[in-house]
Structure formats: structure tokens, C-alpha cells
Symmetry: C2
Subunit: 380 residues, 2 copies
């Protein structure tokens, strides 16, 4: 995946046919971004009228200081330093207004923000490599509706079944993977690259084949935008605590549906739960609320706590002998303190806990890494 290939001839053909489907947009025939042989990246943008054009994104050391693009014959360009393998987000800033790269259709939505993205792999096995599709067998991703008796509504979940599931007869363990506030059942797939990460880890023999269930964790929605019966503008307001309580109470509906509709190996050592941010809190709370249900628990930048000085639910959870209680957080994350308090509490009580501290903050770049690490520890 080295280049966005877009020949002028192809573009011309598209232009000729543009009236055929809906009109093509402001495509310019440029290649942008172009990933160069040294893994630097060149952005290009055509605008003869602009006074200033800048590019910002998470390839920069400091996104608050966008890079100035330089103009020649109406084409603005900027080339980065060589970059490490990663999924990167970026935007152009034209005369002070944030806009998209019209030459790049790859865009992700995070809560209510769309940005351009690209992936880059500098060498096999780096982070970017895990987020890309390779010539290996691929799992299936399904959008599945179930009826929640507790929430009294149809709700949607995403389900990843590993390569071979359809052809075989075996039973599989399940990872329940929860999104953050403002997210939905698409988030771990679109922003988290879950299907690619699992495909690649499983193909390499680094993770056990498993089913990954990604439910919608906002009780007052049914589904992601576009599938929900209402149009709504997502916000992070659903991080308020009552949203997670409803999900905790209704979570057995999810497990019951999955275990009656898929070939699932049962028992706590075939069940893992993990989530990011709000989903980390939900993973902590659900696994504590139903002790002995999950043998593996992952809290990624979770807003997690022990319930007071002597948490009987957490004691009951550890009395049931989970195999893994894993806390991952970035050293610059605003909620790091919660993770540290919970870790220290577990250490004090003699509960086995794994703590992983990365660079960086409360960002998807970290959550993809935590999933990659966590998935390799499961069901072994």
C-alpha cells in the first residue's frame, strides 16, 4: 500500500463520465497523499485563489502548529519527514478554514469529526502493517440486530468471525469489545481497524482465532448513524454514568444472543471483555457485576475505579480467578490517574493485575496498540 494511484487518464475518463452518476467532486488529478520510497509523505492541493494553505495531523509532533504548504503554479505541497508505520489523520487549513484533501476519499469519523486518513507501513510487522489488508484469509464482519428484552428495543452489534468459522464446526471463544463515549458499533472497525488487526494476528499465529463482538454501548441509541431509526448528531454527552449503568444491566442480553446464534465456547475462560474510555469503565463494571463471567478483562484508558476502600465486588471478581486483568493507559492521558489508582488498589489487595503504560494520550493510536497487545494474551 505504497501509493494512491490515480492516473490523469483515469481522471479524465472519470470526468467524461461525471454526469453519469452523481457529479464528481473537486478532484484535481493530483496524487495526495503520496507515500514516498523513504516513507516521507507528500500532500498536494490545488487552489489558485488561496492565500495560505497549511496541513495538520497526527504525523506532526505538535498538531497545534500546522505545517505551511508552499505554492507553485496553484499547487500547494508539503512533504513530511520519513514516518513510522501508522494510521494517520490529517486536514488541510485553507485561509484559516479546516477542509478536506479532495484527492483522498479515505476518511474516518470520530464522534462528530470527519478527517482524512491514510495508512503507511514502513516495514512488515510495524503498526501500519497490522492495520492493512494482506494476502491472508480474512474473517467476516457482520452488522447484526438483536432484541434486547432489558432495553425493550432492537439494537445492533458488529460481529467479527475469524477466517474458517463458516467452513468449520468448532467452537470459538469471544472477545466483547466496547467503544468509547460518542462512539458506536462501527468505531472499533473503522477507527480501531479491528478486523485487520485480528486477521493479521491470527494469520501469524500470534492470536487464537476468536469471535469479536462489538455492541452499541449507548443505551438510548439502537445503532450507529445511518442505521439507527433516528438521525442524530453524535456527542460525547453519553459518557454520563447512567448510560453505562443501563448497558451493564442489559449486557446479559448481548451474551445470551451471541451464545445462542454463534458456535461459541462457553465458560469464563472463553470470554473476554475490553473497552476504551467509557467502554473501559463498562468493561470494569460489567466484569465486576457478573463475577466469574469473564476470564479476561481489558481496560484501555478506562475511567475505572475501585468502589471505595474495600470493594466487595472486585474481591468477588478476583475470587473467581480471572486469568488476566489488564490496564492500559497513555502517560499523557487525562484519565491515567484512574488507572493508577485501580492498579495500586489491586496490588495492595494482592489481585494479579497487568499494567501497560504507553506514550501519548487518550487517542485511537493507543487503543489500536492496546487491542493488538491484549488480543495476543487471550484464550491461551
Amino acid at each position: 500500500m505504497k501509493k494512491l494511484i490515480l492516473s490523469l487518464a483515469a481522471l479524465a475518463a472519470a470526468g467524461i463520465c461525471a454526469s453519469a452518476q452523481q457529479a464528481l467532486g473537486p478532484g484535481t488529478g493530483l496524487v495526495s497523499p503520496e507515500i514516498n520510497p523513504d516513507h516521507s509523505v507528500t500532500f498536494r492541493y490545488v487552489n489558485r485563489k488561496a492565500i495560505t494553505v497549511k496541513v495538520t495531523g497526527d504525523f506532526l509532533e505538535n498538531q497545534r502548529v500546522p505545517a505551511e504548504m508552499t505554492e507553485k503554479d496553484g499547487v500547494w505541497t508539503y512533504t513530511t519527514a520519513p514516518l513510522a508505520g501508522e494510521l494517520y489523520s490529517y486536514s488541510f487549513i485553507v485561509n484559516g478554514e479546516r477542509t478536506f484533501d479532495p484527492s483522498n476519499i479515505y476518511r474516518n469519523r470520530d464522534v462528530a469529526t470527519w478527517t482524512n486518513i491514510f495508512t503507511l507501513s514502513a516495514e512488515p510487522g510495524d503498526k501500519g502493517w497490522y492495520y492493512e489488508t494482506h494476502d491472508t484469509p480474512h474473517g467476516t464482519v457482520s452488522k447484526v440486530w438483536y432484541q434486547s428484552p432489558t432495553l425493550k428495543t432492537y439494537r445492533r452489534m458488529s460481529v467479527y468471525t475469524p477466517a474458517g468459522y463458516e467452513e468449520g464446526k468448532g467452537k470459538y471463544p469471544v472477545l466483547y469489545l466496547l467503544h468509547g463515549s460518542g462512539g458506536d458499533e462501527d468505531a472499533w472497525l473503522d477507527l480501531g481497524r479491528t478486523a485487520q488487526i485480528l486477521d493479521n494476528l491470527i494469520a501469524e499465529g500470534k492470536a487464537k482465532p476468536m469471535i469479536v463482538v462489538m455492541p452499541n454501548g449507548v443505551y438510548y441509541n439502537q445503532a450507529a448513524p445511518g442505521a439507527d431509526k433516528n438521525m442524530f448528531q453524535p456527542t460525547m454527552a453519553n459518557s454520563r454514568s447512567d448510560s453505562t449503568v443501563e448497558i451493564e444491566e442489559s449486557f446479559p442480553d448481548v451474551i445470551k444472543f451471541v451464545e445462542s446464534h454463534y458456535r461459541v465456547a462457553k465458560g469464563q475462560y472463553n470470554r473476554a471483555i475490553a473497552g476504551l474510555s467509557m467502554g473501559g469503565r463498562q468493561s470494569s463494571a460489567i466484569s465486576r457485576h457478573y463475577p466469574g463471567t469473564f476470564g479476561y478483562v481489558g481496560m484501555f484508558s478506562g475511567v475505572v475505579v475501585a468502589n471505595g476502600d474495600n470493594d466487595p465486588a472486585l474481591k468477588a471478581q478476583f475470587d473467581a480467578k480471572p486469568k488476566l486483568y489488564w490496564i492500559g493507559v497513555g502517560k499523557d492521558d487525562g484519565v491515567k490517574r484512574n488507572s493508577v489508582i485501580l492498579r495500586d488498589y489491586c496490588v495492595e489487595k494482592g489481585y494479579p493485575v497487568e499494567y501497560y503504560e504507553s506514550d501519548g494520550g487518550h487517542i485511537w493510536r493507543n487503543w489500536r496498540v492496546y487491542l493488538t497487545i491484549f488480543a495476543q494474551k487471550l484464550f491461551k
Copy 2:
């Protein structure tokens, strides 16, 4: 689905948390678009520096003449006339530059163009109503990879299985539904609203429960952008004829995979094939190339022809007694002539053909309608 609800309180909460996940974008706290009780629609946009702001979209009689938005206190607004039920696309034009409505995350990509969208239903059963999610059982949509021995690569298809498929043991007929040039296996779901249309038609008893298979119809890609192993900028260049020949030759790989992985009723009267534009040509060609395979054939704005004055393949196809040979096209469609020639040829030869002519041109608005009509005629 009457309003995009976005309270200022929620937005403020989102703003407070914006540093938590990736930064929120230029959300303004406005509701846009707002669907009013009379089914007019109000667009709103905040920009204190702009000199002109216009809105264009397919709600206008003539999209070449955008509507002028008017400004008060930095908020630009425009209210449409009352609109009929439909899925609408629109863009803002700020100082002559096309941009997005930052208050509306709903966006569709058509080939290489992203636009804002919204759905509107003025009354139950209108077009917009069929494109929305209602409180009925829902089918499952899966992204499935298969190995194509003919094309010697992994390829991806989208599969809709109707509500009840997972719980039951019965066998289902299959509609193979093909996209146009520049499209992919996501197009019929995202732009065509296939899952919603089928869910609603089946729930009403107007269509038979069926599986819908939407393969990728571009032989040199594996999958849609984001899932393919290469990043690529889609163009309509793949409408060239060799692209469709490869798909015709490899189509048995698709059928074989589907019939060995799903509970499928076999025989031509349990198989339908339809497609739009390039996919219409492919449907015409594949059904002719494999006579007796498809009992139902739909060509939506298809670039279709009879092969010369005496088409033996078409004769063989009709000798096998298909139940339906359906041609749909818009009266303003640039490829209408092809449809008329094929229809007239069939009439001359005494082949039973159904011809449906709608208003409008070569656009998704028509293809959604053709699918809605065609699906009701299948497997009865």
C-alpha cells in the same frame, strides 16, 4: 426521523470532553438540517467571515442554480419548500468553494465524491420511508471474503440475510445485485439503502425473504476502499469493457461460494441478477452467458445491447424461460437509447420483457426506486 437533535447542553458537554478522544470538529451547536413539520428543511451554517454562502443539492429543481443562504449574526440559513420523502444530498458553497455542513455527520461517498445527506419521510410508505429504519425485524449485513479461483485472489462481497435467517432452517432464494462503475460492494448498501428497503418490503409482506449478494464488480480490485489491500482513488475508468468480461467469466465463483456457504434454494427460479449502469450491463451479459441460471434479470440504467441482429445467446436465454426480464431507465438518462434498443429487439423476437421508464437520469434516486419495484417481483 424528524429532526437532528443536538442540544446546546450536549454540545457543550462534547466540547468539554473534546480533548478526550480526537478533537471535535467545527460543530457549532446548530441544528442542520432541520426537518420542519411541513417537511420543508432548514439548513444552517455559522461563518462570520464569509461573503457568500449557498446551498446546492438534489432537493433543488436545478442544482446548477444553488440557493442563496441569508445571514444574520453570523448564522446563514435557507429553508426549502416542503419536500417529498426521499434521501437527499447537498453541499454548501462558501465564497465559491464547495464544503460540508459541519453540523451533519451523515455523508455518502459516490465514486470519489463525498456529500452530506439526509432522509425525509413525509408519510409512511413514501420513498424516504423505505430508506429509513423502522421498528421491524432487521436482516444481517455481512462483509464476506471469498477466494476466486478464476481471478486468483481474495475478493469481498456484501451479503444481506433477511430477518429470521439465523434462527431458521429454511432455504432462501438469492438476488445478485451489482454496482456501477466506480462503485464497490458497499455502494448498494450505502447509496442504495438496500438493507432498509429489503427489511421494510419483507416486513410488509411485499417482498419474499431473500438473500441479497452484492459482490465487488471491478476485477482488478479486491474490495472497497479501506478494505482492499491497496489504497486507491476510485474512478469510473473501470467502465471499460474488459472489466466486465473478467467479472462475467468469474461469476460462477461467486455463485459457488454463496451456494456452499448459505442455506440457498437452488435452480434458476431461486436466482435473480440485477445491477445498475455497468452492473446492468454485467447482469445482461452474465445472464446471457449462463442461460438457465437466472430466472429473474434486472437492468437498471444498464449499458445493454443485443449482440447483433440475431443474438443466439439471448435466444438461448429466453429458450430457458426466465420469469422476468426487466429493464428500468430514466427518460433523461444518457444510456436510455440502449435500453430502448434492447427492449425493441426483445419485442420483435417475441421475448417477454418488462420495461419501466421513470423521470430523471442516471442517478441513485432512480436505482433505489428500481430496486424497490424489482424486489417485489421476485420469487413469487
